[in-house]
Symmetry: C2
Subunit: 475 residues, 2 copies
């Protein structure tokens, strides 16, 4: 057997080389010359673009679904493509932005002791019946049966799964608590009215954290810890948020807060007291009492898109699954829980909704799929001679600034004018667009730099450009 395997191993070389020897690809090369930085050329991207408004509308079955800016812009720029009601293909730019966001969420969750796991989407009906949520969630649950007629739902959230997982750890000691466990996975919810693109979908990515503590007091501290981490995340993203007292809904528990991005298209109405700082989702207030329940001050309303939700659960779930730890007195005791959601794909879309103009996407800088787009002149134009210096510039940036590795795009569609490509670049919202125009032929050569997040345009020589980009954090 061993000999046979050795023989096979030695075959794998010849086997692979029996395929026809590598020839220059028939279309365009995707292998770069050795010893040079690999340039990311826009012409090779799968990035459907420049859809007209009427074409975009044609992608969705109902025009009414396109009433929101981020949805329209994300379709027009090929960030997403509809796959069915409330279901989208996330195209390559979106995947890059999402992976950056997930990395930031990982950092914040792990900074407070969070440990990442991954639970199945197929959730046994038995667990959901045990908490009564099979009935309670009703048609919002996607339900199915396997080949043995066993019933499942596609998890919209995982309180049942994780509480029963924790219950299986029979020797959990108070010394090990708190545990903060989280995942970033696809969730499913059969929304009656999916709309606004990624803002209200039926299949979406969510970060859900579940915490386990040895007392109500400790659980409240953990609750504050997670809320602070959420605040830090939105601060790093540069997104203004509001945290309001919220209803517990089908999740349950005794305390809950929502994190909202204030947006007119938001489906929640939020209220704030200018006197004492009280904030709430109006659904938590008595509609007959128009004033602040804390100080009787005047309340002002706005709309918000919910991007995060926190719940103090107490023993609601641990009592169902008998999820216990051994306390300092050596006695079993129910764990105190919290759960904490962040809508990953929803944060992406909401950020675009907040930051973009009607015509151009703007990203939180740390989430932009690519930080820099270089636009060389048009072939056949007077500035044509600057095409090659632009390619050299690409290599210079890549070599001088390793933190921008993989973050620089070359818009090599040189059959188009600079103007047309700049229009695309503005629409896609790269934080920095560098153009080799007339002044690229001056001595010293100057590049036109569009800093799209600050809306500045400057002309810089190569060194000045490198100094500017040195401050940019790629990923």
């Amino acid at each position: 057997m061993e000999r046979l395997l050795r023989r096979w191993r030695s075959f794998s070389g010849p086997l692979l080389s029996r395929c026809p020897p590598s020839q220059p690809p028939l279309c365009r090369a995707y292998h770069h010359p050795p010893g040079r930085v690999k340039r990311l050329a826009l012409s090779r991207f799968f990035q459907p673009q420049n859809l007209r408004e009427d074409q975009v509308v044609g992608l969705e079955s109902r025009v009414s679904e396109l009433t929101c800016k981020s949805h329209r812009l994300m379709l027009q720029t090929g960030l997403i493509h509809p796959a069915g009601p409330g279901c989208y293909h996330y195209l390559p730019f979106t995947v890059r932005a999402m992976e950056k966001l997930i990395r930031m969420i990982d950092q914040e969750m792990q900074a407070i002791g969070g440990q990442k796991l991954d639970m199945p989407s197929l959730c046994s009906a038995k667990l959901w019946r045990a908490t009564g949520r099979w009935q309670l969630m009703g048609k919002e649950l996607f339900q199915l049966q396997d080949r043995h007629n066993k019933e499942y739902c596609l998890g919209p959230t995982h309180e049942e799964a994780i509480t029963s997982l924790m219950a299986s750890q029979k020797t959990l000691s108070y010394r090990q608590l708190p545990h903060l466990l989280y995942q970033v996975t696809r969730k499913f919810r059969d929304e009656p009215r999916p709309r606004f693109g990624l803002l209200r979908g039926r299949e979406f990515y969510m970060k859900d954290m579940y915490t386990f503590d040895c007392s109500a007091e400790a659980a409240h501290q953990t609750y504050d810890l997670v809320c602070d981490a959420y605040g830090r995340l939105f601060d790093r993203l540069g997104l203004r948020f509001v945290r309001v007292q919220a209803a517990v809904g089908s999740i349950g528990g005794t305390m809950s807060h929502e994190f909202h991005l204030p947006l007119n298209i938001g489906e929640d109405t939020l209220t704030a007291c200018s006197n004492c700082g009280f904030t709430a989702n109006v659904e938590t207030l008595d509609p007959k009492q128009p004033n602040c329940p804390v100080c009787q001050g005047k309340l002002a309303e706005t709309k918000g898109v919910e991007v995060g939700h926190t719940f103090y659960l107490g023993t609601k779930y641990s009592s169902v699954f008998n999820t216990e730890f051994i306390n300092a007195q050596g006695k079993p005791s129910l764990v105190e829980m919290g759960c904490y959601g962040l809508g990953v794909t929803r944060i992406l879309a909401a950020a675009i909704e907040v930051l973009s103009t009607e015509e151009c996407i703007r990203w939180p800088r740390l989430l932009a799929p690519y930080q820099v787009c270089l636009i060389p002149p048009k072939k056949g134009s007077k500035e044509e001679m600057a095409i090659e210096p632009m390619e050299t510039l690409y290599d210079n940036i890549a070599e001088a600034l390793p933190q921008l590795q993989g973050e620089i795009l070359l818009d090599d569609r040189t059959h188009l004018t600079i103007g047309n490509r700049l229009k695309d670049a503005k629409k896609l919202g790269y934080p920095f667009v560098v153009i080799a125009g007339k002044r690229a032929l001056e001595q010293p050569c100057h590049f036109e730099v569009w800093c799209q997040n600050t809306e500045e345009v400057v002309f810089l020589p190569k060194q000045g450009l490198l100094d500017l980009l040195r401050k940019v954090q790629g990923h």
Copy 2:
């Protein structure tokens, strides 16, 4: 409105601070003192361990399912926990290993021009009926209906989805091809006999790539390119693999290869000719012909676990969805496709199956969840004085070797003997285990270093240890 928002923004500070001010946590601190490297302490991990064999058997409904080593070891060490037939919770160590594997796959796929996207799990029955696979796959498909009685399956693979997505790109030019699009997502397959843990599950992670070319010749070159990338991946992982001619099954097409790890528990029988190097899955051969179909040489058989599968599809799918590009003559023409799978969770389990002993997990070095485990002496032992130097060592390694950031664990369960903790460390298979034993009190202090992948044990002073670890690639 703007004023209101500004007010709210200024409230978010006080709001958060209305929660009780931070006190020392009641249990154990999860915040590290400022200005010091954060130490990863094993005692704080959610890592169920040391399950006896009978307890492990109790986790699964049937003993017969536990006939494979990786399955048993992964349950015993708390890498996975069963959630239902063929469905597992991936616990934190597994998620770390999986994220490392996915990063390597991303590197290899992007090196050949692959672009990452992400398609929904909910796949419309309409698409699957168009190719006839709704019927063909039958009970292997998890099927469900939404609240409007629209039918879906949970995608086991995405040929239909991506071919119809590509068909929507009406102006695809031959200049843009090839496109190599891939995703790493959860897949679903209602296996009649899920078993062997992650080796044959019903919900699992898969990398699936789909390629689009402008001619059969170009598509064959792309096919070779992807196969070569697969070979490089397994080489980097240090996993011996066999590539064999394979049946096309329900995916279809005209050419197919499987990548196998040779393993006795494998469900496929592979055959190789010692004369000409021909290899095949026996299901592709005429059972009446015992000799090599190429040279009539003698064939030898072995078992293998399939970890990758490649298909040349031709126009099987593009002809159904009318997926065309504009060729050099300006005429629409059907794209030539290939599809390429890698079982992500299956590679993890198969690698553990190949490399581990009956009692101890061994990882491909690049996938080990943590590279280094430090074991300080037991509290109250003669070597107790070495506990603090070990914590200093942790900080020294972390500061001197930034590539090991997040890769070093401190086994702070100092109520246990070194021997007991070393047993755990061997079982979990950290590539490097560093022990502060008697010789840690010598001048100069020496640490006992277990290099588990090479089965060497050496005593090294601090500088020697740093030099050894400098060569280790963390992530």
